[in-house]
Structures are given as structure tokens and as C-alpha cells.
């Protein structure tokens, strides 16, 4: 129960989040440095994939939470009665 794990230390979680932010920022900026050549026009907009990934995830999580969970969620024994 009280086995202390690596992630029980709050500082480690902070480092993880901060490094994730740094890595994301670097990946975002690489678009402006490397000018990767894509097949379609919109893919060549700098930061397209980064923005798309972020927005898609937020939209999915929030729509599921605020629109669909109230509609679909029932008690666990809903079908048992």
C-alpha cells in the first residue's frame, strides 16, 4: 500500500509535464526550421499537426465529458434489473 513509487514524488510529475511542454515546443518550432515538404497544402502550414493534435484531443475529451456522458451514462446495474 505504502510502497513508495517514482511517481508518488510530485516533483517527478512536474518534471514530466515540463519536459513534455519543452519537447512539444521544440517539435513545433522545427516546422519553421526544417520546412518539411508535405503532399498537401494545409499540411505545409507551419504547426498544422501540432495544432490539430492539441485541438482534436481537447475537443474529443470535452465533448465526450459534457455532451455524451450525461446522455449515455447509467448506473452499473442498469441492465441487471
Amino acid at each position: 500500500m505504502d510502497k513508495q513509487g517514482f511517481w508518488d514524488d510530485k516533483r517527478h510529475i512536474h518534471w514530466l509535464v515540463i519536459s513534455l511542454i519543452i519537447v512539444s515546443a521544440i517539435l513545433f518550432l522545427l516546422d519553421f526550421v526544417l520546412h518539411p515538404h508535405h503532399h498537401s497544402d494545409w499540411e505545409n502550414w507551419p504547426g498544422f499537426y501540432a495544432v490539430f493534435g492539441f485541438v482534436a484531443t481537447v475537443v474529443l475529451a470535452l465533448v465526450a465529458r459534457y455532451v455524451f456522458r450525461p446522455l449515455l451514462s447509467r448506473k452499473e446495474d442498469y441492465y441487471d434489473n
Binding site: L16, I21, G53, F54, A61, R69, S73
Partner: protein, 588 residues
């Protein structure tokens, strides 16, 4: 034909029958030898039709081998081998036989060159899966198995009707490319679609897979739907409708997966999402797209099985696969955690998903299916959120649920390790996979643009998740179930039952009140009092008319009353009526 073809279907089904007669280590050796020997028997086989038998003027082909059936057969053998290792310790009773029978049926479908044997093996596949679902041995498992039989029974009937009509329409019974011009083609299309878990036809999957036994779910996740993918890729490539079906499948299950608590059900929904990618690929139908479908299916079977195996291991140790019951297991089950993370990294460069999913994505772009391309990109980010992050996060990290458990048993770890290693090997050496694909198409997954784009997409998806969790906006674990289309036949049928009962019982009691209580007594009353009253009234009119004196009339009344009370009058009336009837009958 000089080459001997030993059908893997036959090998596996015979093994299913024989396995109960073996015990202990010998049984394990036999079980592990079966997939290896079976794979060896088909690997070197050149394309062609083997094991052709003429039956009532129809050619039954049990060994239709080409690049498409071969690549599916290879991955099915690999996953059979891995699953058997996984279940060595936990398998019970007929679970092993069910697994072999089920896999054998899947091989039968793969190598069927005619629609009749195709149909027979298709049905055997359902029987095998029932065995695996029932191995869940709970009331829920029995219910799910029952609903599974109903759904696939209907699917089988539709498929069979389609096969017969197609046969009549075209005169051909070969498993070959078809079109949706005839009614038979449509019925076959829909019959296959039920096994492919199309939207509205999908709920057998999310209903039954999470209720099967731990090993059963791993095996089920590999075969039924991928057999349908194979069949659709063979019979309906380039059917545009499939692009639309696939796009819906790629999106809607993600919403369920976000809010679902049972992690095996989360994975089941994520599985439907991946089938959506494959449907889009089949719908596009170009050589690149069909290659993409086969490659996706190959990789998907591998990493999805690692997912189901790791969640299964957690369930084996803790007794639950629900996010609300789990968390913090990375301390107790580090290797299981590692394997689950390997599965979740699938779409990163160096892993199998990266080198396979992009084939379908590129096919969409080259085929100018831009909407499909956008939808699949959204689905890539979405499935990374719900399977890639959510499953490992809630099972192994998140809040420590305090389970003091051991690491998974050794056989499970070996199976998960094998699966994970193969996921990584696919990503590192994609050319070996590409060589097995149905068409020879040159494709280079590791371009700067592609690697960077995928890393950006996934990193920002992960970042969004982290920020949502920190802000308390991510949907928390909640003990609940979510309504899906199975509501219609789980609650709907009972609601229809209740509705019919309400109408029928209402009619019944109303009829009881009106007929039994009121009408019968009214008829009885009328026959007792009504007839004599009418009679006496009528007679008295005649008597008065004939000028009968009152005293005589009273005498006759008394006589009449007496006759009526004795009951002789009604009898006499009936006799008179009967006589009149016969007279009429003979005179007319």
C-alpha cells in the same frame, strides 16, 4: 496438383478435438507445436487453388492461396502461438479447445475459394467464439454470449441468403470481387458487415468481448473482425460506401472510449476505431490502400493483443479491469506496465503502427479523399488519447488503488514480451512486412516530414491530455456503464414485451369484464326472463285483439308462467324453430 495442401483449418480443428486427451507438459508442447507446424505447411506454398473437391457439380475450394490470404494466415498463426502461451497457466477446461476450434474456423474462411465452404467456416467461427465468451463464466458472460449468438445468427442467415441469391444471379460461387448491383451482393455485404462491427451493427463486440474470459478476449480480438476485414478486402475493394462507414467507425467509438470505465471495453471501442481505418482503406481500394489494410490488420492484431494481454494480466491479479478499481500498478507489475506502454506507443516512429497506418493515410491523400484523410487524422490523435494514454494511465499510474499484487505469471509475461518485440520489429524493419503485402508498392515511411508530423500530432495530443488532467477537465473515472445500440435489444425488447403485455392484458381484462361478467349474465337473464316476457306481451296483444274475456286471459297467463318456470316452453320454441329450419331447407 502435386503439392500437398494440409489446411490449417483442418490442423487446428483436429487439434481442438484431440487436446482434451493430453495432459500437463505434453499438452503444452502439442499446443505450441500446432501453430508452428501449420504455419510451416503454408509458408512456402505458391499461390493457387488447392484441395478442390467437386460436390454436386460445385467446386469446393478449401485452399485458395494468394498474397492476401497468406499475410492474414501468417499473422493469425503468430497470434495463435502468442495467445496459447498467454493462456498456458490460466486456461481452463474447454477454453483451449474453443481457441483452437475458433482459430481453425478463421483459417477455413481465409482459404475458402468458394462461398459455400466460406459460409460454413464463417458459422463455425461464431460457434468457436461462443465457447470463448462462455469461458467468462459469469451471468453477464452468459447474457452476452446469448446476444452474440442472436446477432451472428442473423448475420449468418443474411450472408447465406446473399450467397444463394448471388449464386442464382451470377451463376458463380467463387469468392471473388463482387459489386452492389445485385440483391445477393448487398446481402453478402451486410452479412460481412455485421462481423466487421459496422456502426449500429457493432454492439455485439463492445458487449461480448469485455465479458469473455481473460484469454478469450485476447483471442477474440484478433480473429472475428479481421476475418471480416479480409473478406471485405477480397470481395468489395473500392466500394465507396465503405469509406463513409469507416469514417463513422473511426470517430464514434472514441467518445465511448473516453467515458467508459471498463478498460477492456475501452479497448473494444478502440478496436472498432481501428477497423474504421481498415474500412476506409478497403473503400478506397487502390493497391496502396489494400496494402495498407493488410499491413494495418497485421500490426493491429499484434499491438491490440498486447493491450488486451496486459489489461488481462491486471485483471488476473487484481480481479478487476475497471479504471475506478485500478491505478499505481507500475510499482507492482513493472514488466506488464512496460509491455502496455509498448503497445500504446504503436503509432510512434520505430513502432508498427507508424509504418502501417500511414499507408492508408497516404492512400486517402493520393486518392483525393480529403474528408477521409481529415477524419483519420482526428481518429489517430483520438485513439492515442483513449487507448495510448488512458489505458496505461488509469491501470498503472493515476491514483494508487493499493493492490498488493505480484507481477503477472511468467507465461503471460513471455506472451506479452513476444508481442511487444514484434511490434517493435515491425517498426524497425518495415520492409519485411511490406514484402508480404498483396501488391508490390514502394513506400518509404521514414521521411522527415512524416516522422516530424506524427511526433507533433502525438506530442500535442499528450500535452493536451496532461493539461486537461491538471486542470481537472479530463472526464474522471466513474462507476457507470454507457448506453449503446445494444440498448435496443436489451431494454427495447423487454420494453416491447412489457408494451405487448400491457395491451394484451388490458384487452384481456376488458374482455373479461365485458363478456364474462356482463354479456354472459345479460344473455342468461334475457333467456330466462326476456323470452317469456316478450312472448306473454305478444300473446296478450293477440288475446286482447281476439276479444278474449279477462278471466280467461288470466288463466292463460298463469298457465304460461307455469310452463316457463318448468322450462318446457323455451324447449318447445327451439323445437319449432328447428322444424321451421328443416322445412325451409328442404323446400327451397
Amino acid at each position: 496438383m502435386t503439392i500437398n495442401f494440409l489446411s490449417p483449418a483442418l490442423i487446428f480443428i483436429v487439434a481442438a478435438v484431440l487436446i482434451p486427451f493430453f495432459k500437463g507438459p505434453l499438452r503444452n508442447v502439442v499446443m505450441l507445436a500446432v501453430p508452428i507446424l501449420s504455419l510451416g505447411s503454408i509458408l512456402g506454398l505458391p499461390a493457387g487453388d488447392y484441395a478442390v473437391y467437386s460436390f454436386m457439380n460445385v467446386d469446393l475450394v478449401f485452399g485458395h492461396v494468394d498474397a492476401l490470404s497468406r499475410i492474414f494466415a501468417i499473422i493469425f498463426h503468430i497470434i495463435s502461438f502468442i495467445s496459447i502461451i498467454y493462456m498456458l497457466k490460466i486456461g481452463k477446461g474447454l477454453e483451449f479447445s474453443s481457441a483452437f476450434f475458433y482459430a481453425g474456423a478463421a483459417f477455413g474462411v481465409l482459404f475458402a475459394g468458394d462461398l459455400l465452404s466460406f459460409f460454413v467456416f464463417w458459422e463455425l467461427l461464431t460457434i468457436g467464439s461462443i465457447g470463448l465468451i462462455l469461458s467468462g463464466q459469469s451471468k453477464r458472460a452468459f447474457g452476452a454470449a446469448y446476444r452474440y449468438v442472436l446477432m451472428h445468427g442473423i448475420g449468418g442467415l443474411i450472408l447465406f441468403a446473399g450467397v444463394v441469391m448471388h449464386w442464382i444471379e451470377t451463376g458463380s460461387i467463387a469468392v471473388a470481387q463482387m459489386s452492389l448491383t445485385g440483391f445477393g451482393g448487398w446481402l453478402i455485404f451486410i452479412g460481412l458487415g455485421i462481423n466487421a462491427a459496422w456502426p449500429l451493427l457493432h454492439s455485439w463486440l463492445s458487449d461480448a468481448y469485455p465479458e469473455a474470459s481473460i484469454a478469450g478476449t485476447v483471442i477474440l480480438s484478433a480473429f472475428t473482425t479481421k476475418v471480416a476485414v479480409y473478406a471485405l478486402a477480397r470481395m468489395f475493394p473500392g466500394t465507396e460506401l465503405l469509406i463513409w462507414i469507416g469514417m463513422i467507425m473511426a470517430i464514434f467509438p472514441l467518445i465511448y472510449a473516453v467515458i467508459e470505465n471498463d478498460l477492456r471495453r475501452v479497448l473494444a471501442y478502440a478496436l472498432i476505431n481501428q477497423l474504421g481505418f481498415m474500412m476506409v482503406g478497403i473503400g478506397i481500394g487502390t493497391e496502396l490502400a489494400i496494402n495498407g489494410v493488410a499491413a494495418l490488420a497485421f500490426n493491429h492484431i499484434l499491438y491490440k493483443s498486447v493491450y488486451f494481454m496486459s489489461v488481462g494480466a491486471v485483471m488476473y491479479r487484481t480481479g478487476s479491469a475497471k479504471a475506478t478499481d485500478l491505478g499505481g500498478l507500475y510499482k507492482r507489475m513493472p514488466l506488464t506496465t512496460l509491455f502496455c506502454i509498448v503497445a500504446s506507443l504503436s503509432s510512434f516512429p520505430l513502432f508498427g503502427g507508424f509504418v502501417t497506418k500511414s499507408l492508408v493515410q497516404s492512400a486517402a491523400l493520393y486518392g483525393h479523399e480529403y474528408l477521409a484523410w481529415f477524419v483519420l487524422l482526428f481518429a489517430t490523435a483520438g485513439v492515442f488519447l483513449v487507448a495510448g494514454i488512458k489505458v496505461p494511465y488509469f491501470a498503472f499510474f493515476s491514483k494508487d488503488a493499493g493492490h498488493e499484487v505480484e507481477e503477472a505469471p511468467r507465461s503471460m509475461l513471455i506472451a506479452m514480451g513476444l508481442g511487444s518485440a514484434l511490434c517493435l520489429l515491425l517498426g524497425l524493419f518495415p520492409q519485411y512486412l511490406y514484402k508480404m503485402l498483396p501488391y508490390s508498392v514502394y513506400y518509404e515511411p521514414y521521411t522527415l516530414a512524416h516522422v516530424l508530423a506524427q511526433l507533433q500530432l502525438l506530442a500535442f495530443s499528450g500535452l493536451a491530455f496532461a493539461l486537461l488532467v491538471l486542470a481537472g477537465l479530463y472526464p474522471s473515472e466513474k462507476r457507470a456503464i454507457n448506453l449503446d445500440i445494444d440498448l435496443i435489444y436489451r431494454k427495447g425488447f423487454s420494453a416491447i414485451n412489457q408494451g405487448i403485455a400491457w395491451i394484451a392484458n388490458g384487452l384481456n381484462s376488458q374482455a373479461d369484464r365485458m363478456i364474462h361478467q356482463k354479456l354472459v349474465s345479460a344473455v342468461a337473464n334475457f333467456s330466462k326472463n326476456g323470452v317469456p316476457t316478450l312472448l306473454s306481451r305478444g300473446l296478450s296483444l293477440i288475446w286482447i285483439g281476439t276479444g278474449m274475456p279477462e278471466s280467461t286471459r288470466k288463466k292463460y297467463y298463469r298457465l304460461l308462467d307455469k310452463r316457463i318456470l318448468l322450462g318446457s316452453l323455451p324447449v318447445a320454441i327451439i323445437v319449432v324453430v328447428a322444424m321451421l329450419y328443416f322445412v325451409l331447407l328442404y323446400t327451397l
